[in-house]
Symmetry: C2
Subunit: 232 residues, 2 copies
């Protein structure tokens, strides 16, 4: 397998970075090829803007999605975007590795999605969900957070973590055609013991070693809806 | 009322910008004071980083939340962050005005949250939800999107839009103590007629004129949970 890890943490000594490194080493041992986009180290720009295109189709009225579609066709995407697209294209599996910021991804990772998941390539027309541009590839989240397990779920103080992850797992990854594997979630990491954190890293090695035994998350199939996307 | 509109669209002629301008004009007519943070015009940086602090408490191990807490206390936040915090402090109501990007906020707006909602001021210890740092203030989303109304909701192709908005409405705004008003959502805007869009702007004026008649969204209260945040 070719694996792309997209990593979004500003501190190289952080636990989130240890998870990234653990994945890298585990996959290499298993004989897979691994690429890493370390967004902070790359100083990746997260702002969708006119700079993302070598030429604009409509310079007097900036429409980001239309410019993406045009640029993807005409090879006019900025080199930093094109490089990330090539990495995604090479990958059989992508892992987004991040600390939860405001029950979501850090802005630098949100911007990686906004800029890299270009219209026309990742989706377009009726190409989404099981017909999305990335159909045939897998994706997975690996995240750390401050909260405890019992604070999430029905009737818990914050409600189900799946709701918070839905913009990324459903609205982004599944929508673009990725088969989404269950997320690996490291709860409460700043507050637990060193040993407990080491156990999490061992659990992650086991998780990654048996990825093929994981049941992918369930999302809609276009075949369950009519032409206008009403349920059949 | 003092109102802060945080606006995140790169094109000044866009419909999303028209919604921002409509709100600005409507509130002024009603006798309110309005400030606008136009994030693209300000070239607001969305990346949480070491640059956010005039001095670091722990330069050899970067912990963003701890540095926020320290800097908020010691007046060491970067001027662009401090300026936004002052705007939020002055505001009785904040409106986040944006096009939906990947069922979420554009990265530039996510980064406004990551950097401005500092630990120690917006939340900290047991100060969250109804005890959050911004208790007493209101907040509201105004968003545009490409999808149609019938594509969202139970059993629809994308599921309930509330799930996608939960990181921002629940995990961010309600968590920080804001009373969250129901969002104003403009569906399908690039594909409808000019007249239909003008009707949306008129509806928005009516909406804003009767904000006090809106029932705020319901979120947990700390009093419903025990010391360890298990439900009582
Ligand atoms: C802006 C912002 C918003 C946030 N929003 C939320 C939120 O909505 N919900 C929520 O629950 N949390 C939230 N948090 C908390 C955040 O998710 C956690 O602080 C973060 O996930 C912790 O991971 P880290 O990698 O930064 O940990 P670090 O603090 O870097 O590391 C934790 C500990 O692990 C140790 N460590 C590093 N490597 C190893 C190793 N190999 N083995 C053992 N120990 C190791 C470190 O030395 C350190 O002591 C937020 C934080 C910020 C800054
Ligand atoms: C990266 C990215 C991700 C996206 N993800 C999603 C998603 O997850 N889900 C989804 O549903 N959509 C998504 N979209 C679509 C996006 O949400 C919509 O394109 C956007 O909300 C449209 O708003 P706009 O302001 O950009 O419209 P524009 O295209 O700028 O404007 C639409 C039309 O309104 C006209 N207009 C401007 N002002 C007025 C006025 N005063 N009166 C009448 N007409 C006016 C304009 O001339 C134009 O013809 C995504 C788009 C991008 C670029």
């Amino acid at each position: 397998m070719n694996i792309l890890i997209v990593h979004a943490h500003p501190e190289p000594q952080s636990f989130t970075t240890s998870l990234k490194t653990t994945a890298q080493q585990t996959f290499k041992k298993l004989g897979h090829r691994v690429e890493v986009s370390d967004l902070y180290a790359m100083q990746f720009s997260p702002v969708a803007s006119k700079e993302d295109f070598l030429e604009l189709n409509q310079p007097d009225y900036f429409n980001y999605a239309l410019e993406q579609r045009n640029a993807a066709k005409q090879n006019l995407l900025a080199p930093d975007i094109q490089a990330e697209i090539e990495k995604v294209k090479r990958a059989d599996l992508i892992i987004l590795n991040f600390p939860l910021y405001w029950t979501s991804v850090p802005a630098i990772l949100k911007g990686w999605i906004d800029r890299v998941f270009v219209s026309g390539l990742f989706y377009g027309g009726k190409r989404f969900y099981n017909h999305g541009g990335m159909a045939g590839k897998k994706a997975m989240l690996c995240l750390t957070l401050g909260g405890r397990t019992h604070m999430f779920g029905e009737n818990s103080i914050h409600g189900p973590i799946e709701h918070y992850l839905s913009p990324i797992q459903r609205g982004t990854l599944a929508y673009s055609g990725f088969e989404v594997l269950p997320p690996f979630i490291a709860y409460h990491v700043p507050y637990i013991s060193q040993e407990a954190r080491e156990t999490i890293l061992e659990d992650y090695i086991t998780y990654l070693t048996h990825l093929d035994q994981l049941e992918p998350l369930k999302f809609p199939k276009l075949e369950e809806f009519d032409e206008k996307l009403y349920p059949l």
